[in-house]
Amino acid sequence: MATVPKIEVGADYKEKYGFFVPEEYVFKAKRGLNPDIVTEISWMKQEPEWMAKMRLRSLEIFRKKPMPKWGADLSVIDFENIFYYLKASDKQSKTWEELPPDIKATYDRLGVPEAERKFLAGVSAQYESEVVYHSLQESLTKKGVIFTDTDSALRDHPELFKEYFGTVIPPADNKFAALNTAVWSGGSFIYVPKGVHVEIPLQAYFRINAENMGQFERTLIICDEGSFVHYIEGCTAPIYTTDSLHSAVVEIIVKKNARCRYTTIQNWSTNVFNLVTKRAMAYADATMEWVDGNLGSQITMKYPSVYLMEPGAKGDVLSVAFAGKGQHQDAGGKMIHVAPNTTSTITSKSISKAGGRTSYRGHIKIYPGANNCKSFVKCDALLLDDESRSDTYPYNDVDAENVTLGHEATVSKVSDEQLFYLMSRGIPRAEAETMIVNGFIEPFTKELPLEYAVELNRLIQLEMEGSVG
């Protein structure tokens, strides 16, 4: 039986993450989306002309593309009511003390500086549209590791940037990738040189503070041959009565023999639409691992994918989704087998409660010639009451020889036997249910660094108590 970490009961999202500080901005673009706003963002950032052009073109693509007809209901998003660019600090800090006091207080309260001292090799903190704090251990800088915000990367590493930006996820890929390319700001840029192993994780923390904010970070990670990096992102926002939009694009290139692990603990408040495109390309004998936890947001649509480009490449997605009242988590993964002898697994665990809806949506595609591939998908859904809903939509296309593909899914409720067993030992029902849920997602938590695992179990407990939303 999984043990539940001792945690204080009664704290809630509002207390811990949902607070907000008064808005004070160096620059706040007008509400709404038009070519002037896009040009203004580019001008503020003093970008090269090619980027300004790419943004405007992407805006046009965004306008032309229809909203997705599948998945969650996105018709409620009012694109004209959103602030697309907010700059809260006029410079980026290298120490927490240099930050404006409100922002520093926010991160203190979220525990980010403490986490950095304890177990992180580098930290990036994004507040609204811009990265306000950045650090990387000196030993890594010396080895040639680049970990910076994406705006600085465009300025400081223009060639590396231009070689890869938009090649994994072009603006036309989907409506929200186009939107992101038009108005992107912030995000992380990571380059790990050949053979370098970044042994302790790098972390980025994304925070939305303002109401009706749109956050559009753009992340680009390049793992050169034989390298390794583990990148962790966390995200939270205050609870407002009107909606915010988070629409990120993450592009990752994992070269020969390299390995990249990307961990997300998504805990947006339940007024945030979270529509994210994440895609990696894995070359010969490379490994890409997405560890994706979705707890917060009103609607999430996110399907991290791996293009297995050369023989021996390996892709993993481990996904956990929790949907409480009013939430729809539409998550999953995609594995595109382009080359022979590639392997992939997707493991999805979802929990629905209090009318929440979780949907697993996945795609396994084996292209002609990608012979001798193996792919296995396992989805388990837990429905905690009869108000809630779970869907499974797995698409499997096999066009090659000697491929072994398997998909399995089950949907169940918390078993009465388990519950009875625990309650007969004097454990109150709510706590017993929490224990069962924590046991259910253990394959996920055990992949997290300890501190995050503890945090995740705590979040699950909060959700189970119904104190969120």
Binding site: K69, W70, P368, N371, A381, L383, L384, D385, D386, S388, R389, S390, D391, T392, Y393, P394, Y395, N396, D397, V398, D399, A400, E401, N402, V403, T404, L405, G406, H407, E408, A409, T410, V411, S412, K413
Partner: protein, 397 residues
């Protein structure tokens, strides 16, 4: 020539209500758009080369040959559907196209407008018989449309078996075929239905099968798909009464340039219902198959139990299999499991057989037969099982 209102003149002697219904379906056909590549159901299914106008000559009565079981109990009605429409409008009119809707899409509308016959079987309350009803549908001259429709009504506590066999006299003729079926499974009844589709290899085949199950009824529906250059079959069971149980099974064997598409639905509308689906197929040469199935557990359908599996055996490097098993679960007090596999003949099994001195081709054939074995055992009655085993034998051969 196209399929138009004039084409309907080929179908004389029908009652007014049926005529009107055909005209409405034709109107629906003319307003409905061809499905586009962005419609999920049609994304992998290319119908752009299908031109109904090429097949505007309707095959009268579709060459139906009905084999009546000897000594059919009194009250059982078994006759060609067009005849039944005249003789028993009270039984036929309210049911025909009430499960398979004419306006669902362009192909359903085309079938409803021009269906060329088929069978009506009515088994009154409490009537049982063992010998299966056999309906054989033949195609004759080339370049035509053969569009039979089967309507089966099982009264309370009725028990019987039915086999539809779609037979090509000439394996190479081109044509347009559809073989749709509606089954009303009455309270406490037990119905076995088998459809064996072995049209020629140059025809377009569209089939819509839908059954509605009342309280404590039991349906065993089995499909065998072997023919057609293009074959799209929808198999849907609507579990509308508590205690009902639907078993949906199928085998398919696709070779050459054949394309098969299966869409299935297990719709649990009320609680205490069971459904069990298994579709197994083998693919060789450059054949392509698509399986997409949905288990839907509606809000109040507690204590439902649903199972869905699609297994594909891929025997060549150029064959393509798509498998999309889906779940939509709106109640937590249920048991739902589904699975899909796509894979080659297990090399270890092959190695084992070969090590016993069995030649490779024989060993492969044994493994293919073994693959279908468990599902063949689920064919609801002996006559159909023997028929299917022989058909498979000839194809795996």
């Amino acid at each position: 020539m196209a399929l138009t209102a004039e084409t309907l003149d080929q179908l004389q002697g029908e009652p007014g209500w049926l005529r009107e219904r055909r005209q409405n379906a034709l109107a629906a056909y003319e307003t409905l758009q061809l499905p586009s590549k962005t419609d999920e159901e049609w994304r992998r299914t290319d119908v752009s080369r299908f031109n109904a106008a090429e097949y505007s000559k309707l095959e009268h009565l579709d060459g139906l040959k009905l084999e009546r079981p000897s000594g059919l109990p009194a009250g059982v009605i078994l006759k060609p559907l067009r005849e039944a429409a005249k003789d028993h409008p009270d039984l036929v009119e309210p049911r025909l196209f009430s499960l398979v809707h004419a306006d669902r899409d362009r192909f359903a509308a085309l079938h409803a407008a021009f269906f060329t016959g088929g069978t009506f079987l009515y088994v009154p309350d409490g009537v049982e018989f063992d010998q299966p009803v056999l309906g054989q549908h033949f195609s004759h001259a080339g370049g035509n449309s053969v569009l039979p429709h089967t309507l089966i009504v099982a009264g309370r506590g009725a028990r019987f078996n039915y086999l539809d066999e779609y037979i090509a006299e000439d394996d190479t003729e081109a044509g347009y075929r559809s073989g749709s079926t509606e089954i009303f499974v009455g309270e406490g009844s037990q119905v076995g239905y088998v459809a064996v589709q072995k049209w020629g290899r140059n025809v377009w085949h569209f089939a819509d099968q839908r059954a509605e199950l009342q309280k404590d009824s039991n349906l065993r529906l089995f499909n065998v798909t072997l023919g057609g250059k293009f074959s799209k079959t929808r198999v849907e069971a609507s579990l509308a009464g508590e205690g009902s149980n639907a078993e949906l099974k199928a085998i398919y064997f696709a070779s050459g340039e054949q394309f098969f598409d299966f869409h299935t639905l297990q719709d649990h509308r009320v609680g205490n219902t069971r459904s069990d689906l298994l579709f197994k197929g083998a693919l060789q040469d450059v054949a392509r198959t698509v399986y997409a199935g949905l288990i839907k557990i509606e809000k109040h359908a507690a204590r439902s139990d649903a199972y869905q599996a699609n297994r594909n055996l891929v025997l060549s490097d150029k064959a393509k299999a798509t498998s999309i098993p889906m779940l939509e679960i709106d109640n937590n007090d249920v048991r739902c499991t589904h699975g899909a596999t796509v894979g080659p003949v297990d090399p270890e099994h092959l190695f084992y057989l070969r090590s016993r001195g069995i030649p490779e081709t024989t060993a492969k054939r044994m493994l293919i037969q073994g693959f279908f074995g468990d599902v063949l055992d689920r064919i609801p009655f002996e006559h159909a099982r023997k028929l299917v085993e022989a058909e498979l034998e000839a194809r795996i051969g």
